[in-house]
Symmetry: D2
Subunit: 374 residues, 4 copies
């Protein structure tokens, strides 16, 4: 079966490597280009990259010659794992060339016409993309910050069921969230850091957009109005963000109702058969001392957020702990799931889940009348 | 100069070792007995103990023969680093023999007639001890839990200045808080644990007693009435508890007023010249990413709590980070400071700071009319 | 297909858990009993065990009720993950009842009539078991120490090709080698320990038996005669023993000949189709800074030893680094592979790889005339 | 008392910070300039530096404005903590201006006319410096690599007593040896690395020069002739290099003779009263599991090397473990001690230990006829 040709921007970095690892074994997508800075361009990916994942580098990736990040015709979807600075212009350049950019960078997330999407929660926000000023179906869609994703997976069902009033979240975040080389060993061994640059701002802002409501005409998102306070820490963990969350609700809740909200609520990806969608976006770990990075980061192949220790909070009402894998669900895996959603929703011209086999050959003009979600 | 003879209960454990390290170099106290379980009794301390501190074991301690924990006449003060289970009866046995027990164990802390004291904050609570049913000046006084001490050092000045309404605290606690051997390496390396047995309960209860008011007749403490919510975590750090704190005040506050409250407020130990009292019980670290265990645990020889990152909280009003050394200020050092306060307040019959030189020889009948604080 | 009924002794410990994890998904073996100390006996395994593996506990294991370690009729093979002290008598008790004991404990390894076997290297040593004084095919066979296995996988092909004269090995061993709870966090974080009790002795003795020659009559092993010097360290790693090895040969060698010896030499498990046998017992990692626990411990599903950095040694001739997974190849996985070899060699009465389906029902008298290897 | 004006090159780096920490509290030396790359030049040191030491930055250092590394008149001694690449020319530039450069960089160490000195061991090698082609007493003297220093402190007394034939050393080196930021957290947590770039070469070459003999005319060093084989590893430790050493001697040795050689042998710094000289360059830790970074790195204020576990080696004869602090004795502290030796030996024109008080004012022409050691 023919697949959708994709490129990976920032392919040599920490998130880029996760994308490579996922996309070279993906049923829908076919990496046709690995792009990085000019310094790496021209080298085989296997030489240009200091591979940091425990699983070995895909053999086909190793042999592929790295390209620069400027647009070229081949890919239909461009996955961006670029730094925010680099991403700002490059992602737009690709959108202007009619490509769908699925980005993990923060720079376009809060733009009014850019959807910030967690596929299970606010798939309808993708309609924003139709308002973007790019030709030929070009668009930018974005994935939230790694510490935001786990949090909103927990919060959305609670907001739907009980109405969120306020949220206090204190994070214990893994080192891989800082990329590679990232945090020096000497800074974090036998230590903990009470600060991550820009993180609290993102964590206090992004949930309000994701849990906001799309206006009737699909032109903008009205932010949710609950309050969020975040305190972010880096701890001596490789992968897996742990978050201590307290919530105040507008309506009464009890433990079993909260559990039902998490475990039984329908999600926007139900019925879409997206390859990366976890069976359960939210799971609950029963042990007294769970969730933990060691045991729970791999839940749902790294795509589920694990809740635990749900208990009353003397101040806000309820509190719990949550864990999610920051470079899978919180970055590369989340981005891939979002791209799958875009395909399912008809945002990638010429491709649909059903029609991947009959698509126009890579590089040819693509002509699809209108995305299904318009 | 003659010193006050003291014994250390639980001397071979993690907190006991810190006590040994401090007390063998103390200007007022002279360890005359190192006590531990019957298994260790009779052996030289140097053989019975798996020493875990970076500083070498005091030479005199190494040669001392370990005794059991049952009372004997020599010491005037007994420092208890026993587990709560063992401490319950043994501490009372010593008090019944007319000794002052200064305890780090949790078992008697919440008893109505037992003072739970941080010397800088609520020295007046020591008067409770006069109500205890022990003869000859015997008494039990207690030091709070390791995660409580740093917190109340931060909260008391704020309560005095602005009136506390509620407090949310999320901890990142060091492994040494679990004693030795404590947490297995495999449980904590590359991991974080969202649970410490009994810790949240202590952290939600003890501050209310410490910041409570002694009734006019000195017979009991009326607990403070603000709310506390705690979520406790173990992180991969040897020493130094980091806490993310949010507070709501009854009266308006601004950043400079909060800083003044922390740094300028008088404390109960002012003017007492206690050897272990830090010059500043509260210090403030200016760096964006401070306080950290690595840099700040040793502030004030491990006896100061370090604040940092004071900033507005969208939910409760203000938030900040704090760090304190859990086995020095939070255990052994705090216990020693409390014993010094007891001496200064006349609770140790026959001894006063001024009169340490003229005290009756160790073991003789001690006859001091009335404690000064009565 | 019916499987061979097996029991696991010491099933709640660190190695026992690995055995549970492997054996509940094994094509030949069916765990019919999980045995542990009397303290655990009677409880469901899921309650009696503090599970420490990242992969979840098998559901069927969790529900199984733990038994004591005294013999009972059901199992045909008994896997022992007991401590040496407990293993000494219990393993013999099982052998006296006619069972095959496949043991990871050290206590019987050096007995003249007990084979100490790495299946790829000295399968013929199993004949020793026929000399054991147990009825009904009862026997004890043993797996080497965790740091020995990787080393002999590297040394045997070199001894065959060039004749070993002397071996110097310095280990950097993982914490899981000490079992659970094992090493306290405080002892190993930001530290390294230059001593592991009894380890150097084992590492200097076991290779000589494993690489020794079975006498013509199969009654004993003549130890190999090269010298071994070991220095053992514990480092802050969960799984994966790294070893720095220098070797002197009797005959000339060059790099490509050594590589061929490692990668091309036939092994005793060739053609046996043992389910746990790695495709390549020895692999070579090309990177300048390999092998590493992080990247190489999982080679061959944790059953391959990874070599790297082969280079001349100014003192002994050649030196290299090797890594093997200490709780898989070095313990549980190695034990299971050894049991598979015993089945293939006819040491388990009533069972053969071909005939697993037609075996006598569990618990019935087993009557197989003579093992094939006799 | 007036002190000798000194500059620190590379003052913002990891070793530079240790130098700052030591030299701002030194009885002989007065830092008059902190030099770094042009990027930092002009900024206050407190701003230009990401301080990584637990002890606070000296207040006077914080306020000092950073200068570039090109020569200027003020300092009499220049401490170089530059990278080898930068050091090559800059150190010569300073020597050409008549300054004594005491360098921790590797680039000039193996030059025939450059002394490579451990003050206790080969102080006489300083005479080489008189042959250097620099005017006005300018010279370059060098400190060995961090893993070499501990090793040669152990080897020299053994060579003197028993005659070294060969040495096998396997290191477990701390992360701080790679400077700052150095090793990424993700590379080393729960891991060990069997390779450090260039380290084995240095460790196999430098001891031969240090333990070599100065020719009669003082013009060159005849290298020692024993063989050295090194295998170097990075482990998850902040400070403190641990080394497993095996040695073959020419003459018979026994345990007590080796201990006497280490502990009683005279050293070249005896009687010189150098402020940084440890009382015992070599100490022996008795514990079964010593030396360890945690307990032993601070021996002799970080200037002593600690031996332990001396025992027979079946291959080479004897083996032991050693530990030394890699950024104190192995870098900054060793450099300072070397500078003190140079002063004591009259290599710094115009200054002698006795005459530090009467020295010519800083910046004036310095005119001392001939160094005492010529």
């Amino acid at each position: 079966m023919a697949k959708i040709p994709v490129a990976i921007l920032g392919a040599t970095g920490a998130v880029g490597q996760r994308l490579v690892s996922i996309l070279f074994n993906h049923p829908w997508f076919e990496p046709v280009a690995l792009c990085a800075s000019e310094r790496s361009a021209g080298k085989p990916y296997g030489q240009a990259t200091r591979w940091i994942l425990p699983d070995p580098m895909p053999v086909r990736a190793a042999a592929m010659r790295v390209r620069g990040c400027a647009p070229f015709p081949d890919p239909a979807i461009v996955f961006s794992a670029l730094d925010a600075e680099a991403a700002m212009d490059i992602e737009e350049d690709w959108a202007k060339r009619g490509r769908l950019v699925v980005s993990n960078a923060r720079c376009h997330r809060m733009r009014d016409d850019v959807p910030l999407v967690v596929p299970e929660l606010n798939a309808d926000h993708l309609r924003l993309a139709l308002r973007q000023p790019y030709p030929d179906g070009g668009a930018i869609v974005t994935n939230p910050n790694c510490s935001t994703i786990g949090l909103v997976l927990a919060l959305k069902p609670l907001d739907d069921a009980f109405g969120l009033e306020s949220v206090n979240v204190v994070t214990l975040q893994a080192a891989s969230g800082a990329g590679y080389p990232g945090v020096p060993f000497m800074d974090l061994i036998d230590n903990a850091l009470p600060y991550i640059h820009g993180e609290e701002e993102k964590l206090e802002a992004e949930p309000l957009k994701i849990l906001g409501r799309l206006s009737a005409d699909g032109s903008r998102v009205e932010n949710a109005s609950f309050g969020v306070s975040a305190a972010c820490h880096r701890v001596a963990v490789t992968d897996g963000h742990l978050e201590a969350v307290s919530v105040a609700f507008k309506r009464p809740a009890d433990k079993s109702a909260i559990m039902r909200a998490w475990l039984d609520a329908p999600v926007d990806t139900d019925g879409l058969d997206l390859p990366s969608a976890p069976k359960h976006p939210v799971v609950y770990a029963d042990g007294l001392d769970r969730p933990q990075p060691r045991f729970d980061k791999a839940a749902g192949n790294g795509m589920s957020a694990t809740m635990g220790r749900l208990r009353p909070c003397p101040i806000l009402g309820w509190k719990f702990e949550l864990l999610s894998h920051n470079t899978i669900r919180g970055a590369a895996g989340g981005t891939v799931l979002l791209a799958e959603l875009c395909v399912a929703k008809g945002l990638v011209r010429g491709f649909s889940p059903a029609g991947i086999a009959e698509r126009a050959p890579c590089g040819e003009p693509r002509r699809e009348p209108e995305p299904a979600l318009a």
